[in-house]
């Protein structure tokens, strides 16, 4: 399942997509994120996968720095840590 978190607002598209079929629940993305955007939770089919925290989803672009604009300068990000390429960001 492609779980799209985020929104489009006046300044652009801000979506963080997690491919839960790829995600193996290793949780390395969660420790990699300095902004505490992600958490592990069971989806409705009982699989433990990464998701954007409920409190963060409606304000995603204010919490998550994005890869292009922010995290690409860091040593680690959810995306670099995910060997399965399950996480994509639009900004």
């Amino acid at each position: 399942m492609l779980a799209n978190y985020g929104y489009t607002d006046g300044s652009g598209d801000y979506f963080l997509t997690i491919d839960t079929d790829q995600c193996d629940g290793c949780a390395r993305c969660i420790t990699a994120c300095g902004e505490n955007v992600l958490e592990m939770a069971k989806d409705d089919y009982g699989k433990l996968v990464a998701k954007v925290r409920d409190q963060v989803a409606p304000k995603l672009s204010y919490v998550c720095l994005g890869i292009e604009r922010g995290c690409s300068r860091r040593e680690k990000s959810c995306q670099t840590e995910c060997e399965l390429n399950a996480i994509t960001l639009t900004w």
Partner: protein, 262 residues
């Protein structure tokens, strides 16, 4: 054996009762302040006409915004999975669902089994939701049930730059004072909301067949606008507003069967 699905939405609560894979009855009420009381009330409303008591319901699944607050539910499942399940049960050929609810809007793509393939949800702001239409209907003094039909009568829709609920409200007021026809104001707002719904749908790569669920699916004006944008003919079941509760009831039937065999 009877099972129930209860969907506590932000504006309306829905309950569906099923027996042996058939819908026995359903009910829709306004959501009250307390989810627990609302859940109890909507389920009682659903079982009363068919002469059942609460003890007859063997398994209940809760869904929706208030799903964690239903004390008597055996399980709770997200409204996204429930919508896909419900739609798949009554319209198995549907792959794309646009759920237009009271305070959020969701686009879901599902597979032939009713499992979610991709979803996106807009719950960031009230623009383009049922609540927004309620506010506008109130300002223009048109019954909520009539705004869709009225918008279809428009000859010259007024383009709205914003669907921020607060700004659009004052813009609509100004236009009305200037003597612009209500139908033109409504048509413009419906257009703006449909554009937003379309953008949401694009994220999940829509495929035929397509359906609209939620309370706004009963708004003919919105259905026409979304259809024109997406260029897909939507299909409908009898009651589009209960898809979430229906899916919860189908999950309840599956899970109670699983529990019985274990």
């Amino acid at each position: 054996m009877f099972v129930a699905g209860i969907d506590i939405g932000s504006r309306a609560a829905k309950a569906v009762v099923m027996e042996d894979g058939q819908v026995v009855s359903h009910a829709i009420i306004d959501t009250g302040a307390e989810s627990a009381k609302t859940a109890d009330k909507v389920l009682r409303e659903a079982i009363r006409p068919v002469g059942l008591s609460l003890e007859d319901i063997e398994y209940t699944v809760g869904t929706g915004y208030g799903r964690c607050l239903i004390p008597f539910a055996n399980d709770n499942i997200s409204e996204i999975s429930c919508h896909a399940k419900g739609v798949n049960w009554c319209m198995p050929s549907v792959r794309t669902i646009l759920d237009m609810g009271g305070q959020d809007c969701k686009a879901i793509r599902c597979d032939a089994m009713g499992r979610v393939v991709s979803f996106v949800m807009n719950d960031k702001c009230a623009g383009g939701t049922g609540r927004f239409l309620e506010v506008i209907a109130d300002i223009l003094r048109v019954p909520l049930e009539g705004i869709g039909e009225l918008s279809l009568e428009s000859k010259e829709p007024i383009p709205f730059n914003t669907i921020c609920a607060v700004f659009a409200k004052s813009e609509a007021l100004t236009l009305q004072k200037r003597g612009v026809a209500k139908s033109d104001i409504l048509a413009g707002l419906h257009e703006a909301i449909a554009t937003r719904a379309y953008n949401l749908l694009r994220r999940v790569s829509p495929e035929p067949e397509f359906t609209i669920s939620g309370g706004i699916a009963k708004n003919a004006g919105m259905v026409a606008k979304v259809k024109a944008k997406l260029k897909l003919e939507p299909v409908f079941w009898d009651e589009p507003q209960i898809m979430g509760a229906l899916g919860a009831a189908v999950f309840a039937a599956e899970r109670s069967a699983l529990a019985a065999s274990a």
